[in-house]
Amino acid sequence: MSLAAGVLPHAVVAADPPCYSRAVNAWVCPEYVTRYAPELWDATVQHILLTVASVVLGFVLAVALALVARRRARLRSVLLGSTTLVYTIPSLAMFSLLAQATGLSATTVVIGLALYSLSILVRNVLAGLDGVPDEVVEAATGLGYGRVRLLLRIEAPLALPVVMAGLRVATVSTVALVTLGTIVAYGGLGNMLANGLDDSFKAQVLTTSVLCVVLAVVLDLLIVAFTRLVTPWTRGAAV
């Protein structure tokens, strides 16, 4: 077996191997971040897009399901039970099964993660709507509000803080779950994280993990800021 250097004759064989090489294999390695900046950027963008698309789809589904089930006690318990059940499906099985229908695509990941987010979102949308005081609803009805206007102008704004709290949890959990999309080649930072773990590539593992955490925090803060913006009456109270 010939020497390793043979394959890259033009490569600079430096006296000090870079901190990302296996010989050094540092956890913290600025050279790694510089060298892999394009890959890290692409992975981060994919991660954000997958997260946002999944949470938006999950949120739309959750609102629709909650509105259908809110006044029907039996439907409501079936809905809560089944969304929790979906959450217990192992992601490996979920993505492998969905891949049969939607292939190796972002759609596979988005559908899977949206389904997972339902267990949190449906619960919070229902809790938010439940929290609207009966007397407010009665007063509005007395003022001649129809069902749609009641929902949009009275119930939705009052339910918003609780719904947004659920959205925060769902978003942060989705940022973490996106990494599992690597099973079908769409895992955002998870693709690089999985490779790093396989090859004990410490700089890659740490960098992608930190980026995931930063992403979760940034998205969380954005939701907090948005909630404060649209619910000025809650300012001063804990969101």
Binding site: A4, V7, L104, V230
Partner: protein, 321 residues
């Protein structure tokens, strides 16, 4: 609450929705395998290349991608965790090209067609295995192109000192030496024909103990260099053996099934894309075990990017002309 607040809330919601729609749309597009080699001529169409996501397959995926792009195809790479995920896509023509291991795909297709307990159709003989696996593949709608000389088999290494001391170059030599041998290998080694069982029965090696330290693992190699074990199970394409002072003992009785690298292509797609076949066959003709081992070292040890390592190889071999 007043109407200004509500209007603001609605406006906020509307603009959030707009932003989400804007950024969510491009999410549907795949990430392309990039590394455009600036080939002339118009595009011959697009294809999706899949495979398993570990170092050697990343290199193979890059090699395939770059020769196909050079040929004028637009290639999208989708590397996944396991073979069963992409095989379904390959037979359905959602994936067109996959780099494969001859006996790896052979055993998979054989089990799929004939059940888990089917007699193996793979052997140490490359031509016979290609013929047998090729027939199974055709039934599944997949065509195997030309195998490379490069093969990633289980192999067994000793330290150079140990080999010199006992003048060993083959596994038969080790069996004939009658030396008691401890082996570091994968946990399922003991009863496998290509591991513990075969080493004892075919080569007559006196295995006194098998330590389950994993396939080609750091721990296994360290155990060999420290003298804790004499024999360690590794891959033939492990380019880092020399650095550890290890040498392979030749599998002179052909215990290991042929694991040559071979392109697996969707048959239906191939009928209209013969150019892709000739490009991939030209690559297979140049790919040797030593060269693949070197590329593995460049990626695994020096942490070069698979795309750069692949491009360098293809330029050196004149495959991007």
């Amino acid at each position: 609450m007043n109407s200004t607040t509500l209007r603001r809330a609605r406006r906020g919601a509307a603009s959030l929705a707009a932003v989400v729609a804007l950024i969510a749309l491009p999410a549907c597009g795949g990430d392309d395998g990039d590394s455009d080699n600036g080939s002339g001529g118009e595009s011959k169409g697009s294809l999706t290349l899949s495979g398993q996501n570990f170092t050697e397959m990343q290199i193979l995926a890059e090699l395939y991608t770059q020769v196909l792009e050079n040929e004028g195809y637009d290639v999208t790479q989708k590397l996944v965790d396991t073979r069963d995920i992409y095989m379904a896509q390959l037979t359905d023509n959602n994936v067109q090209v996959v780099p494969e291991y001859l006996s790896g795909i052979g055993d998979f297709l054989n089990k799929q067609a004939n059940g888990d307990t089917a007699e193996p159709v793979t052997s140490n003989n490359v031509e016979e295995t290609v013929a047998a696996v090729g027939a199974l593949a055709e039934t599944a709608g997949v065509t195997l192109l030309e195998p490379a000389e490069a093969t990633d088999q289980n192999a067994y290494a000793v330290t150079k000192d140990f080999a010199d001391e006992h003048s060993l170059s083959t596994l038969s030599d080790l069996g004939a030496s009658g030396l008691p041998v401890k082996l570091a290998a994968a946990p399922d080694c003991k009863d496998r024909q290509d591991c513990g069982k075969g080493l004892q029965e075919v080569y007559g090696i006196d295995l006194t103990e098998i330590l389950p330290l994993g396939f080609g693992s750091r721990e296994g190699k360290d155990a060999a260099t420290s003298g804790e074990v004499q024999l360690v199970q590794v891959a033939t394409t492990d380019g880092a053996l020399e650095d550890d002072g290890l040498v392979l003992l030749e599998d002179d009785k052909g215990l290991q099934p042929a694991q040559n690298l071979i392109p697996a292509v969707n048959t239906e797609w191939l009928a209209d894309n013969e150019d892709a076949a000739s490009a991939l066959n030209a690559l297979s003709a140049k790919l040797t075990t030593d060269k693949l081992a070197d590329m593995n070292v460049a990626v695994d040890v020096d942490r070069e990017k698979p795309t750069d390592v692949a491009q360098q190889f293809l330029e050196d071999e004149g495959l991007l002309g």
